[in-house]
Symmetry: C2
Subunit: 221 residues, 2 copies
Amino acid sequence: MSETDGTEYRPTGRTVPTRSRDRARYDRELVHAILDAEYVCHLGFVRDGAPVVLPTLYGRVGERLYLHGSTGSRPLRAAGDDPGLPVCVTVTHVDGLVLARSAFHHSINYRSVVVHGTARQVTDEAECRAALDALVDHVVPGRSADSRPASAKELAATAVIRLDLEEVSAKIRTGGPNDDPEDLALPYWSGVLPVARTYGAPEPADDLAPGIPVPEYLSAR
Amino acid sequence: MSETDGTEYRPTGRTVPTRSRDRARYDRELVHAILDAEYVCHLGFVRDGAPVVLPTLYGRVGERLYLHGSTGSRPLRAAGDDPGLPVCVTVTHVDGLVLARSAFHHSINYRSVVVHGTARQVTDEAECRAALDALVDHVVPGRSADSRPASAKELAATAVIRLDLEEVSAKIRTGGPNDDPEDLALPYWSGVLPVARTYGAPEPADDLAPGIPVPEYLSAR
């Protein structure tokens, strides 16, 4: 099977890294899994010739990422102009701190996805609504059905942009330190400190009406 | 006291947000605290007119951020050319998921810092060494003194870039959901799900020499 048989994204000049090529992956399922395990991305775009990187939420529907914001937001407005806004969306999980005997070989275990493409504003109302549901459910699966949907006024105040998953790569590092053989006998502890994101006990709003229990989709988190 | 008396970064056109201005902060101590509580940033730069966002480690020494990579890395090479590489470095902590009654008011509690500026390659060997120590100690405080320092060969293979903290802003959201008064009686749970980064038990390298205990700076994490 070729690399472009549909199970993988086709590598391009900007998705093949110059360094650590062995860490690059193009498998769609893997990319989707990394994207679905996180909900904050870093959105990069160019403004007045200079780079801007902003954290923002995202959702995924098939081979499309959706981002949203106020209609007053500068990048979202720019995505509404023809021919859209060139962006780079990056998602990163930190899985471990890798402590080698040598300072040089210290590293991080991580999973990241980088998406290059053109963001375009979504103008179809049904697609907007589906995208906003996806955004909410991406953060808390099951939540969109357990909250009040956007009103027409709220919908009008919200800009949704879409980025197709076409030019995509993942990068992964796993495992222990890669110390040089001559360093193995050095008297320094070496190994991995696992890192994870954890959730605390849900904190009800001060004005939560009595008798509303913590939903199951939160307890499971 | 004015906003430019030295305790705050001077706001500029690109560090004053168009949206949620009340969340923007310029206090140096606050910015330093947000930067020091994280070690992975998202580095944005422009390549062939398009934005690129890559996750990478960083360290801080006073009013300077240091990033590093292979001398073969494209952005790091570009930072070595005159007049340096325009970058945007963004650091984000996720502190909580904010569940409102309305889908529209769902949000995230977060602390983020955005730094705009020009990255330049560090050519002074002493500054390079200090920067690499800062990078290691930023991830695991105390670790640089408990590992083998970079050899001359390793140092030659490493590019260090510097970004001065001049054009900087932080953005913070805390607290519960901001539901509209007419939504308060809706039968949906509302509140905050706290989010934190946690560390697991240290996993020794397969080839760790016997008798080397887990260092105190790791147990404390």
